[in-house]
């Protein structure tokens, strides 16, 4: 039997890896990957809590499914935005995308 702390530790590592990637990577594509990582960390948490604490219910699994669907839709939109950015500016460096300000 695997302890719940191990599984939560895994998701925490994934979460912080995602946050680190989000804050440090320059490529928009890599940032998108980091976001997926964070979402998956959350999914693992849902599944783990459902499995370990409330084995008779299914809400956690369904939430994880919803999150996966939303993540798919979100990545489609994000890629569309990226294509547009690339068409306009011929690069995807997030450090140079600072037009939206005061």
């Amino acid at each position: 039997m695997i302890h719940i702390e191990c599984l939560l530790g895994l998701s925490a590592i994934m979460m912080f890896a995602g946050i680190y990637g989000f804050l440090t990577r320059r490529s928009t594509l890599a940032i998108l990957l980091s976001i997926e990582l964070m979402l998956n960390a959350a999914d693992i948490n849902f599944a783990v809590f459902n499995r370990m604490l409330f084995p008779e219910g299914h809400e956690g699994y369904f939430f994880a499914l919803f999150t996966i669907a939303i993540a798919a839709a979100e990545s489609a939109i994000a890629i569309a935005i990226m294509i547009n950015i690339y068409r306009q500016l011929s690069h995807l460096g997030v450090d140079k995308l600072t037009k939206l300000k005061f």
Binding site: L23, T24, V94, L97, T98, K99, L100
Partner: protein, 673 residues
């Protein structure tokens, strides 16, 4: 008589129809807006005219008179538009002798002008716009006379002002027309401000906007009760009301003086002649400019009951204006300006006639307030013959393409119909028996003599001047030397039938009314045929007889004036006139320049008000008030510079702040709470 509502609504509908629907595209490629817009306007006005005559017939001949012989005040339609506590603004239709008489005047003249404009405005750019505005004007003027209360009157009063502004500025590409329309609007608006203040004072102290306190369905039940506003400290409030009513009436009179071009607010009317001539005939001669007279006639029961002494203000303003305008009219060379000053002078006659009324009880009121009847009668006759004169002037301008008398002369051979109708109207305005102006002007002068003899002789003198300048105009246009240069280009010709028909109709009315009332006044026809059986101060029938002394004097004086004008102006050359100019060049120049009143206004407004008052206020506004707000904006801008660096545009920086924020909240939740 609820069909009277259509009299008001039909022109409104035709205004909306002509004003909104573009009739140029009715037939592809071919523009026939010309006929469509004009026909719709004229047809609706034709129906309005028929309905007005029906109303007049039913009201004057088929309505049962009250016990004292007066005609009842009917309210076929009334609705509360805006309730404000005890006060309420009503919209409705009120039929009483003067409003029904005005209906007849407005619809007749307006229909004639609609027909006439077919010829006069033929091929003009903006023909459709012109007819839309004519409908708007007709609607507003009808609403003004049918108003059930002073506030509704004010509403339509402003609407006629707007339509007058739009029509004066009809040729909006020419600078004088723009200046004239602005001048007319600003001067009348300035006067209307006093009117509004008067209405508000009136409404506050009497708790009603009605025209009279005497009992009938729309009016207050009892005179004393009218002066009890919300709190019942009766004695105090009552005295205040007695003191305040004359003030509010005089303020309203200032509004009326602006609209009716009384001295010193007359300056807009001569300039208003920049508009199309049929408009001058309709608005600036027959209907809108008599709104001031109508307003006093409307408030007459209150004037005569509560402020009879204050009417002397009206007398002296009117008497001075009549003389001033007649003096200026003697020297003008632009035929429309002569007619404009003549209009001012004639309206002043009506004002004086209202002013010389004296209070009286029951039967005696009609005798003491003869001026009321005379004023309304003169309003009626003047509308007809002055509209005819203006339309005639339009025919002449149409033929010679100039307003100046120097371009005319000798036109009697070329334009017979215009000439004879013009002559009839000139005889009417001069006050020759058997023409309508005689009967009404004679009543006015009788009323003036009843008031005091100075006033009577003064107005007789002005009547003599009227005859003189009208015949100077007549001879200047139709006699004298022909302008050969002009005729070489093209010979003047009579106007088309659409333009001459209204002249003939209006002069037939002038002669018909004149003949009947003159015969009735001399006792040959029954006295009920006279105007006194329709409109009188008390409402009861008043048998009008001419005061033989006055009638004879004024006829003789008018004939002498006409003779004088004939002697001076009829010939090919005018040696006497030239000698007169040479003898008093300054006087002539002063009168020709309208005694420099426009220059005085220019000086007062530009040099004093604009330069000494408005400029400093504008400076204060730009520098102090605007400066304060600019300072606030500048301070905010500078403060924001301190923190706006946070919004760097870099998404990752935002994410760091967000992440730190989450950590901070978490920290507070874990360690503090």
């Amino acid at each position: 008589m609820s069909y009277t509502l259509f009299i008001l609504l039909l022109p409104l509908f035709s205004f909306l129809l002509i004003g909104i629907v573009d009739m140029d595209i009715l037939k592809n490629g071919k523009v026939w807006s010309h006929k469509a817009a004009g026909l719709i306007g004229t047809c609706s006005l034709g129906i309005v005219t028929v309905l007005s005559y029906m109303t007049a017939w039913q009201y004057f001949f088929q309505t049962e008179r009250l016990a004292d012989g007066s005609l009842p005040t009917l309210v076929p339609f009334n609705t509360t538009w805006l309730p404000l506590g005890n006060l309420h603004f009503d919209l409705g239709i009120l039929l009483d002798p003067i409003s029904v008489m005005m209906l007849v005047v407005i619809s007749t003249v307006s229909l004639m002008v609609h027909i006439y404009s077919f010829g006069y405005m033929h091929g003009e750019r903006g023909f459709q716009r012109y007819y839309a505005f004519l409908s708007l004007f007709s609607m507003s003027m009808i609403g003004l006379v049918l108003a059930t209360n002073i506030f509704q009157m004010y509403l339509f009063w402003e609407l006629v002002g707007v339509s007058s502004y739009l029509l004066i500025g009809f040729y909006y590409t020419t600078a004088p027309a723009i200046a004239a329309s602005k001048k007319a609007f600003i001067v009348t608006r300035f006067a209307d401000m006093f009117f509004l203040v008067g209405i508000l004072i009136f409404g506050y102290y009497t708790q009603s906007f009605n025209f009279s306190f005497a009992g009938s369905e729309v009016q207050m039940a009892d005179g004393a009760a009218a002066f009890i506003p919300c709190d019942p400290q009766t004695a105090l409030v009552k005295n205040a009301a007695y003191a305040v009513l004359p003030i509010s009436l005089v303020l309203m009179f200032i509004g009326g003086a602006g609209k009716s071009a009384m001295f010193p607010l007359h300056i807009w009317l001569p300039d208003a002649m920049e508009g199309p001539t049929p408009v001058s005939a309709l608005i600036h001669a027959a209907t809108m400019v008599v709104a001031g007279v109508f307003q006093i006639a409307r408030m007459f029961p209150i004037w005569i009951e509560y402020a009879p002494q204050t009417l002397s203000v009206v007398v002296w303003v009117g008497a001075f204006t009549a003389f001033y305008a007649a003096a200026v009219a003697c020297t003008q060379s632009d035929i429309k300006r002569v007619l404009a000053f003549s209009t001012i002078s004639q309206i002043a006659f009506m004002m004086v006639a209202l002013g010389v009324c004296l209070p009286g009880e029951g039967e005696h009121l009609n005798h003491a307030s003869l001026g009321y009847m005379a004023s309304m009668f003169h309003l009626f006759t003047h509308a007809m013959f002055k509209a005819c004169l203006f339309l005639g002037a339009g025919c002449i301008i149409h033929a010679v393409h100039s307003n100046e008398m120097s371009a005319m002369g000798g036109l009697r051979k070329y334009m017979p119909v215009t000439r004879w109708t013009f002559l009839i109207s000139c005889l009417a305005i001069a006050g020759i028996p058997f023409f309508s102006g005689f009967s009404s002007k004679d009543e006015i002068i009788s009323a003036c003599f009843q008031y005091n003899s100075i006033c009577g002789w003064w107005m007789t003198a002005v009547a003599a001047m009227t005859a003189f300048y009208m015949f100077r105009l007549y001879y200047g246009i139709f006699w004298g030397t022909e302008n050969k240069e002009l005729h070489a280009e093209h010979t003047p010709h009579e106007a088309p039938w659409t333009m001459t028909l209204p002249l003939v109709v209006l002069s037939i009315i002038t002669v018909g009314v004149g003949a009947v009332t003159t015969l009735a006044g001399f006792g040959i026809l029954p006295e009920t045929w006279n105007f006194g059986s329709f409109v009188t101060a008390s409402g009861a029938v008043y048998g009008v007889h001419f005061d033989m002394q006055v009638a004879l004097t004024s006829t003789c004086i008018a004939l002498v004036s006409i003779g004088l004008a004939t002697w001076i102006f009829k010939g090919e050359t005018q040696p006497i006139a030239d000698k007169m100019y040479a003898a008093a060049p300054h006087l002539h120049r002063w009168a020709y320049k309208r005694f420099y009143l426009d220059e005085v206004y220019q000086f007062v407004t530009h040099k004093i008000i604009f330069a000494r008052i408005s400029t400093p206020i504008a400076w204060f506004d730009r520098h102090v008030i605007d400066g304060f707000f600019n300072f606030l904006a500048w301070g905010t801008h500078k403060l924001s510079a301190l923190i706006k660096g946070f919004q760097s545009g870099s998404v990752q920086q935002y994410a760091i702040w967000f992440f730190l924020g989450v950590l901070a909240v978490l920290g507070i939740m874990v360690f503090v709470l």
